[in-house]
């Protein structure tokens, strides 16, 4: 049946739990991933990686590798430089070489690349490369990196894209890749006047994303363009950065992205793309580089951090002042760490109404694998610290954890630490709903004998990375079907489905008649990236604007030919205009939110277009004889504005929660002299189906983001915020053991119990 333009914003497409548009392709194994791609004449690349954490390269012997039958080529930095004289990339600093130049900065850094038609030959040859290193002193700890004599990069090279990094250009002999400072009121004076001052230090460990589809890129040097097929969350960035490296126009580089087998912030900016592109151009043939699971451990990770928080508090539990110092372990390359340092840094005091605030946040280089964005952009580390700190204060003052939060919570219309007033931030609503679902006001069974029970709550918030741009095209065909062109990457979060829903809702046509074109920079317009829960809001706006533009044009077209668009089927409008099934109506939408840069004190009246809120309540049972504990109930509350697709939103909440549960309970990269010693799924456990708590409840509170498209905002990260501190507080509530480092292991609980009993275990 031919479609007629229906009502716009009728709720026919938006807010419905329709199945994902790609559901059939995924359950039949036929969904398209770069993993599947093979091109005629394609060579496979295998990387030879650094075996030392910090060292000068004295020589590279590739003769044995080159001599292996079947090897097509072996490349080192010397070859790359012939093609790209300045072979350094990165979103914040141009600090990362395509292959190591003169020096290596971490174990696992790419030093040489072997190409062969048979990947097994390439792999065998990569092992035959011999590199002679002069080892240098290395630094691994983020706090030591502040003053260490071991300097990871001799000179800092800001990329020039971010104004707050410009002052670091050419700076020598420092590991500080960004220092962010915020001052509001007079914290020192307030500490002096406070009834109580509390100070605690917390630690988080280095972990990683582990998408089950490891990094993979295919580069194809065609006569007119370099075509890059890549599992990337940021196709527009890849095109611009590769074009910059080569000194080419943007339109000479084409980046295509099908579905991703998971991303979580790993597949952002440049990962395997620059090396694959350079190799393909040098070889003159298509090249594929697929990392192994082990290699993912050297590519990108989540920041380990040390966080010190100090609070001035009244006898009644009102926090009057807070000082936060955060040291982010960025590893060998800055990646997006400086943005984590600033954008997350300014929420370090938590969702609390505090008059006097002082924040110092430092991005540090160390000789570990680089750290970047991982589902929360630094927020889970901060929430871990400020919510644990909140409960430690409550305990000292003999206050209830809910009561102290109610007393200090940042309410609607009040200024956050930057001075930005809170708008459409359901902090109070989320907290109250969590308390209700946890039956917080009712008596709680604390258990008895060897098994003790406890409960905890925690709440966190996050600003959106701003300002960023999204552009979309909506194309209505002559039969009334519609295509959305956007560079948002569907990595599992369901953006294809969401964008189809936005377009259908704004156009007033059935969602089934909309398809979404996958990112292809020759076809789909610019998008900053699929990160930081920004797509629903930013690309949602762009798609909505494009659909409204198309609708207006279709109405005008109908008017021009003397028809009513409201009553005439869309195909009849086109037929009357063009005499046959022909033509298109193309709408365009572009969106960038307003934003005010912070001043020297970190103050701004417009820090973010929207706030994300997430809270978790946990109930645990602790075995006092072994320290083992199990989570008997986990309740997750979020404010996502109006959910685009409630079923997918719930999957996003529980998925984020489960991921953070892994980071809370067992995930940790172990290092020995900079060498990761558990770089495999055999030694690095990620959550499985048996780790799902027996009771897990997820809820999006009833909220509307007034500035959002149809009232929506982002959801991908909010489920992570409260998990770690809620569980730590529940353990403390059960047995009186307060853990301040992640992960929360049975051993750590048992050590705490022994210390409590005056019989501490040896280290």
């Amino acid at each position: 049946m031919a479609t007629t333009l229906g009502k716009t914003n009728s709720g026919a497409a938006f807010g419905r739990s329709i199945p994902r548009v790609e559901a059939q392709a995924k359950v039949t194994g036929k969904a398209e991933y770069v993993h599947n791609l093979r091109l005629p004449g394609m060579l496979y690349g295998k990387v030879h990686r650094s075996t030392v954490a910090h060292g000068r390269i004295r020589g590279i012997d590739v003769s044995a590798a080159k001599a292996l039958p079947g090897v097509y080529a072996v490349y080192t930095a010397a070859d790359i430089i012939k093609l790209i004289p300045e072979p350094y990339y990165g979103p914040a600093f141009h600090d990362q070489p395509i292959l190591a130049v003169d020096k290596v900065h971490h174990v696992g850094e790419p030093v040489a690349l072997v190409l062969a038609a048979d990947p097994h030959v390439a792999e065998a040859a990569a092992q035959l490369i011999d590199v002679d290193y002069e080892e240098l002193p290395a630094v691994f700890d983020e706090v030591e990196a502040m003053t260490s004599k071991a300097i990871v990069h001799e000179v800092l090279k800001p990329a020039g894209t971010f104004p707050d990094l410009k002052h670091l250009k050419g700076k020598r002999d420092t590991n500080i890749a960004l220092d962010f400072h915020l001052r509001r009121g007079d914290a020192q004076k307030a500490f002096a006047e406070a009834d109580h001052v509390f100070e605690h230090t917390f630690r988080t460990q280095q972990v990683l994303h582990v998408p089950l589809e490891p990094f993979v890129t295919v580069a194809d040097p065609t006569p007119n363009q370099l075509v890059i097929h890549t599992a990337s969350q940021s196709p527009s960035f890849v095109r611009i950065e590769i074009a910059r490296l080569l000194g080419w126009a943007e339109n000479k580089v084409r980046v295509k992205v099908p579905y991703l087998g998971g991303g979580f912030g790993a597949k952002l900016y440049i990962k395997t793309e620059a090396l694959t592109a350079a190799a393909a151009l040098l070889a003159g043939r298509p090249v594929k580089i697929s990392l192994t699971m082990e290699e993912q451990f050297y590519q990108i990770t989540k920041h380990a951090a040390t966080l010190r928080i100090k609070s001035g508090v009244t006898n009644e539990g009102k926090v009057t002042a807070r000082e936060c110092e955060v040291w982010w372990n960025g590893g060998a390359y800055a990646d997006i760490g400086p943005r984590v340092t600033q954008k997350s840094g300014f929420t370090a005091p938590g969702p609390y109404d505090i008059d006097h605030v002082s924040i110092d946040s430092y991005a540090l280089y160390t000789n570990l694998p680089a750290a970047g964005a991982l589902r929360g952009f630094g927020i889970p580390q901060l929430v871990w610290a400020y919510e644990s700190h909140t409960d430690m204060i409550a305990k000292a003052l003999k206050m209830d954890p809910l009561a102290i939060r109610r007393k200090n919570i940042l309410r609607e219309g009040r200024p956050q630490a930057t001075g930005t007033l809170m708008r459409d931030a359901g902090i109070e609503k989320v907290l109250e709903r969590l308390a209700q679902r946890m039956d917080w006001e009712k008596a709680f069974d604390k258990g008895g004998g060897a098994i003790r029970r406890g409960r905890g709550i925690a709440i966190g918030f996050k600003a959106s990375i701003s300002p960023t741009t999204s552009v979309a095209i909506v194309n209505v065909s002559a039969d009334g079907s519609c295509m959305v062109y956007c560079s948002t990457v569907d990595m599992g979060q369901g953006s294809d489905t969401a964008m189809a829903q936005f377009a259908a809702e704004a156009l007033g046509i059935p969602v089934e008649s909309v398809t979404v074109v996958h990112p292809d920079t020759d076809v789909t317009p610019y998008d900053m990236a699929t990160l930081g829960s920004r797509s629903t809001y930013h690309m949602g706006h762009a798609v909505k604007l494009a659909a409204e533009d198309a609708r207006d044009k279709l109405m005008q077209l109908a008017k021009d030919v003397g028809l009513s668009a409201e009553t005439t089927p869309i195909p009849d409008i086109f037929r009357k205009k063009y005499g046959m099934q022909a033509g298109n109506v193309v709408g365009v939408g572009s969106y960038i939110p307003s934003y005010t840069s912070p001043d020297a004190q970190g103050q701004t009246d417009n820090a973010t277009p929207f706030w994300m809120i997430g809270a978790t309540g946990a109930e645990v049972e602790v075995d006092t004889e072994t320290g083992e504990f199990k989570i008997t109930r986990l309740v997750n509350l979020v404010d996502v504005g109006r959910p685009v697709n409630p079923a997918i939103v719930e999957t996003q909440i529980s998925g984020a929660t489960m991921m953070q549960l892994g980071f809370t309970l067992f995930e940790r990269m172990d290092f020995d002299a900079g060498q990761c010693t558990n770089a495999s799924l055999a030694d690095y456990k990620i959550p499985g189906i048996r780790d799902v708590p027996l009771v897990m409840e997820n809820e999006a509170v009833d909220m509307v983001q007034q500035s959002g498209p149809f009232g929506a905002k982002g959801v991908g990260e909010s489920g992570t915020f409260g998990v770690s501190p809620a569980i730590a507080s529940a353990i403390d509530d059960a047995v009186g053991v307060r853990l301040t480092s992640l992960p929360l292991t049975a051993e750590a609980v048992y050590r705490g119990l022994r210390a409590q009993a005056g019989k501490p275990l040896d280290e």
């Binding site: 194994g29 093979r38 089950l212 490891p214 998971g262 599992g492 999957t651 048996r690």
Partner: protein
């Protein structure tokens, strides 16, 4: 060293040259099938699950010469009527996946689970699917999908 092997792939006879060092995932890729995906390469994640002679195995740990003469079935095997089977339908209806990379393994393992336990308990589901990892952690939906599939199979 190369050798010639013959096996049945989704009901059709196949004859192909394989290297002794190659694994089943590579053999399937040579046949144009990409639903079995090598991820951890240690037989721990379940992304490369393939059914050999009726039993689920890790394709990444199965050397190619060992499938000579075997009956091999993959996620690409189509249903007699060309539609989704009850397990696949249940995964779609409950939204039991996000990125979809691990989904073929879960679907194949769920079929095997339902063959062994037509009405599985929550505990049996968690036990049976413990060898399949989903980093998107769509586990709560997967448990619902298995229960729905069991109900569909029962009719």
């Amino acid at each position: 060293m190369q050798r010639n092997i013959r096996f049945t792939l989704n009901g059709r006879p196949v004859e192909t040259q394989v290297g002794n060092h190659q694994n089943l995932v590579e053999v399937l890729q040579g046949q144009g099938l990409f639903g079995a995906r090598e991820s951890c390469s240690q037989g721990l994640c379940g992304c490369c699950t393939v059914i050999i002679n009726g039993a689920a195995v890790s394709g990444c740990l199965t050397l190619a010469p060992l499938i000579d003469g075997a009956d091999v079935r993959t996620i690409e095997e189509s249903q007699p009527d060309g539609k989704l089977d009850p397990v696949q339908q249940a995964f779609v209806e409950t939204g039991a996946f996000q990125c979809g990379f691990c989904t073929p393994g879960f679907v194949l393992m769920t079929r095997q689970l339902l063959d062994a336990h037509p009405q599985p308990t929550d505990d049996e589901i968690r036990h049976y699917l413990a060898g399949n990892l989903c980093r998107c952690a769509a586990y709560p939906e997967i448990i619902k999908a298995v229960q729905l599939a069991a109900a569909k199979c029962k009719g």
